[in-house]
């Protein structure tokens, strides 16, 4: 064994120099025969989810005018968690009126410094209730507790912290310009990062002096309603933040309400286009964070083991329900075989199962509808002639679970290469030259995020400059930070969220 290790660690690359690899670089990962994983469920006893939730309008929880409710399902168990209000035009109108009144009477009259202090309070209260929010996020949306606990919730709090500090510094952000707030913002968010997307939307809107009507997704409304409690407990003036729940029809009422000054939407490109069309000619400001089909490029000189970890993180993070997921792997031919084998070995170690278990790597698919959509793409892929590989790990009998999946033998025009699947499904293509990789990378209508793996700095910059996407992860993937602008080129959206750039969409000059 040691012999082969030594040999492998001195493996030659094309220019003849020894390439350093880890001593165990070519050992197959095999955790299961070393130890067994006992269940390690996060206790959810202290978390209280009500049977029924109402809209949060003008600082109060109010019943929907039409009295209709929808149900939120735990995708890991298919059990109903709670009921929530179905917003109609009457509810949206009430919310917009409350937001307008709050904008005119209180929020726009406050100094930036005072506004900021409210936002800081919210940030702190999210931190205080972090574990509760994380557990609810995992129950309602199916994501592994490790992710909701370590990524979603801390980042949401960090977002409020970051933008709170901007509230009284806006005059320093835009050289030669004095920014002004817009008024009432209508915000519609997706189900993949419910609380985090809420933070991305609400934090900059409040910091810039706007008021908000926000609709969470119909499959994940609970943390937004918990956030409403936080707004109330933080003493945020009534009407500054309004949460109206419901499905697409409710969102459309927000988009088309005449007294909304700005629409911010995160979701599919299909719906984004409908929104852009429906506000045509109204002069409403618009930001869109839409779909993606992120290329993840691995060059021959990349640190292969790190790249494998990066690929796993790029496509299997949050069950692949990530608009910026690295869903198209592009591997340089020389390392393709080795890399794919290592990737398959690594996939064997992934634990798919109970989202609340702290060992779980991949949780439940968010909803039945999404589960069926992913299944249909798996069929499409196979019918297109691609080779499908799924790891052998067990998945629970109940709930919506999908095994991590690879497709090889795909071509650029295949639907599974061109269309966003939004699940744990990776396509693998190979390339010979950097030019070919770039051409393939750019050959979709999307341009949200991409990855590049190489040991050579100049190659990183050249590749980064040539790929048309808003985020470029080099030797890393799926990293997020409130100071870092995020958003797409082409059909992946309009505008940026995060960082100083995330202030622009909420201001006029």
């Amino acid at each position: 064994m040691s012999d082969s290790n030594t040999k492998e660690s001195l493996e030659k690359i094309s220019n003849g120099s020894p390439k350093p690899t880890s001593p165990n670089a070519d050992l197959k990962l095999d955790f299961a025969s070393f130890w067994e994983y006992s269940p390690a469920p996060e206790s959810s006893e202290h978390v209280k989810i009500d049977d029924r939730y109402n809209h949060f309008i003008n600082g109060e929880f109010v019943e929907p005018v039409k009295g209709r409710y929808m149900k939120s399902v735990n995708p890991a168990t298919e059990e109903i968690i709670c009921e929530f209000a179905e917003g109609t035009s009457e509810d949206v109108d009430k919310a917009v009126k409350a937001a307008r009144k709050a904008y005119e009477k209180t929020w726009s009259k406050l100094t930036g410094k005072e506004r900021g202090k409210y936002i800081f309070r919210i940030a702190r209260m999210i931190q205080e209730r972090a574990r509760e929010l994380a557990i609810i996020e995992s129950i309602d949306g199916g994501k592994p507790i490790r992710e909701s606990r370590d990524v979603d919730v801390p980042l949401a709090a960090a977002h409020f912290f970051y933008y709170a500090g901007w509230a009284d510094k806006l005059n320093y952000a835009f050289p030669g310009r004095k920014p002004k707030s817009l008024g009432v913002c209508g915000q519609i968010i997706p189900w993949n990062f419910p609380l985090l997307m809420l933070a991305w939307k609400i934090a900059p809107a409040l910091a810039t002096g706007n008021t908000v009507v926000l609709k969470p997704a119909e499959s994940t409304p609970v943390t937004a309603l918990k956030f409403a409690e936080i707004c109330r407990d933080a003493g945020l003036p009534a009407g500054v933040v309004n949460i109206v729940t419901g499905a697409g029809a409710t969102g459309s009422e927000i988009v088309n309400h005449p007294d909304v000054n700005k629409i911010a939407f995160t979701g599919s490109t299909k719906v984004g286009k409908i929104i852009q069309k429906s506000i045509a000619g109204t002069g409403k400001k618009l930001t869109l964070e839409l779909g993606g089909k992120g290329p993840n490029i691995v060059f021959e000189d990349a640190p292969i083991d790190q790249a494998v970890e990066g690929i796993v993180n790029a496509i299997f993070f949050n069950q692949g329900h990530v608009c910026c997921a690295g869903s198209r792997l592009l591997v340089q031919e020389g390392v393709a075989e080795k890399l794919v084998q290592k990737l398959k070995d690594r996939m064997e170690t992934l634990i798919v199962g109970d989202p609340l278990d702290k060992n779980t790597d991949i949780g439940a698919i968010n909803s039945k509808a999404q589960f069926e959509r992913i299944q249909s793409y798996l069929e499409i892929g196979v019918n297109e002639g691609a080779e499908m590989y799924q790891c052998s790990s067990k998945i629970p009998e109940n709930g919506y679970f999908c095994k991590p999946t690879l497709f090889t033998n795909v071509s650029q025009s295949n639907r599974i290469v061109q269309e966003e699947i939004f699940g744990p499904v990776l396509t693998i293509q190979t390339f010979r030259t950097p030019e070919e990789a770039i051409e393939k990378a750019n050959n979709t209508p999307y341009g949200l995020a991409s990855g590049v793996w190489t040991d050579k700095g100049s190659k990183i910059f050249k590749t980064g400059q040539s790929i048309r996407s808003g985020v470029m992860w080099s030797n890393t993937y799926n990293k997020f930070d409130p100071t870092s602008p995020f958003g797409g080129y082409k059909e992946s959206g309009i505008g940026r969220e995060g960082g100083l750039h995330g202030l622009y969409p909420y201001l006029t000059f």
Binding site: A158, P175, G176, R177, T269, G272, K273, I274, Q276, K277, I279, A280, G281, G283, L288, L290, P445, I460, G464, Q465, R468, S469, G470, V471, M472, W473, S474, N475, T476, K479, D481, T483, S484, P485, F486, G487, Y489, K490, E491, S492, G493, I494, R496, G499, L500, H501, F509
Partner: protein, 287 residues
């Protein structure tokens, strides 16, 4: 002695560094304020628009990857060439019935405006780029990057000044563009193509079409290989059409209808940024 018979100019379009006629072979009459014929202009077709988009797309990569310094020099060269030929533009504006004083004002402002934007090419990422202090061990920076192919729909008023005021910020940011010139007086804009041609602007970076917006605006606004629209038509029905068509492929749209094209307000980097994307790059920090 009889007056010399003047040689009249045939006005064509400017596409891909050449001066083709409309593929449709159609023209329409351009008249002065009193209704007198000045010249025929090309009445471009939908196919002309599509051809121009192909040309602009192929020019985009080269232009956007030029150094900012070089793009600035090329823009400055446009101003130099315009200065050298300003008599021609004064004459053409006056032909359309504009008073000499006003024509001078228009041409001079246009020249100065090109110089203004020439100076931004190598400053925009310094002023508007950021290094982002992320909490993890990563180096993270954002900088502006060209959006792509931009469709410009110029207004009727101040045909030369408005067209140049719209083209300059768009190409300063590294985009390529297709300009639909003023319907009533596109002639000085077509002649501006000759200036571009003589100024080291790579072929296809700026393309100028003439004709009826009712025929061309639909095509340019719905074209899937156009990334952004810059329109200066204030009519609300037209605005709505542009916005609706923009949604076909999530085009960025900027409706820009200044009260005063001469105002210095037009000279600002935010107009350049309207046609730029922010690209953010991450890299781990460690040994």
């Amino acid at each position: 002695m009889a007056d010399r018979i003047e040689v009249l100019k045939t006005y064509k379009t400017y596409v891909g560094g050449k001066f083709p006629r409309s593929e449709s072979d159609r023209t329409y009459q351009i008249k002065d304020g009193k209704g007198k014929h000045i010249a025929n202009a090309c009445r471009c077709s939908r196919k002309d628009v599509r051809d121009a988009v192909v040309t602009a797309r192929s020019a985009f990569g080269g232009w956007s990857s030029r150094s900012a310094y070089n793009r600035g020099q090329v823009l400055y060269r446009i101003a130099e060439m315009l200065e050298g030929r300003k008599d021609q533009f004064l004459r053409e504006l006056q032909l359309a019935g504009i008073k000499e004083k006003d024509a001078k004002h228009e041409v001079h402002t246009a020249i100065d405006r090109v110089i203004y934007f020439a100076g931004w090419t190598d400053k925009i990422s310094q002023v508007f780029g950021t290094v982002n202090p992320v909490a993890s061990a990563h180096f993270n920076f954002s900088s502006p990057d060209a959006t792509g192919v931009v469709g410009i729909i110029a207004p009727e008023e101040y045909p030369l000044l408005s067209a140049i005021s719209m083209i300059a910020p768009v190409i300063a940011g590294g985009n390529s563009c297709i300009l639909l010139a003023s319907e009533t007086n596109p002639l000085p804009v077509v002649s501006f193509g000759e200036v571009l041609h003589a100024s080291d602007v790579p072929a296809g970076v700026v393309n100028i079409l003439t004709g009826y917006r009712s025929e061309t605006a639909e095509t340019i606004s719905s074209h899937k290989d156009v990334n952004a629209l810059f329109s200066s038509i204030s009519d609300n029905k037209f605005r709505k059409l542009i916005d609706e068509n923009a949604s076909i492929n999530v085009k960025r749209t900027e409706h820009y209808t200044p009260d005063d094209w001469y105002s210095d307000d037009h000279e600002n980097p935010y107009l350049v940024l309207k046609f730029m994307e922010t690209k953010t790059t991450w890299h781990p920090v460690g040994f």
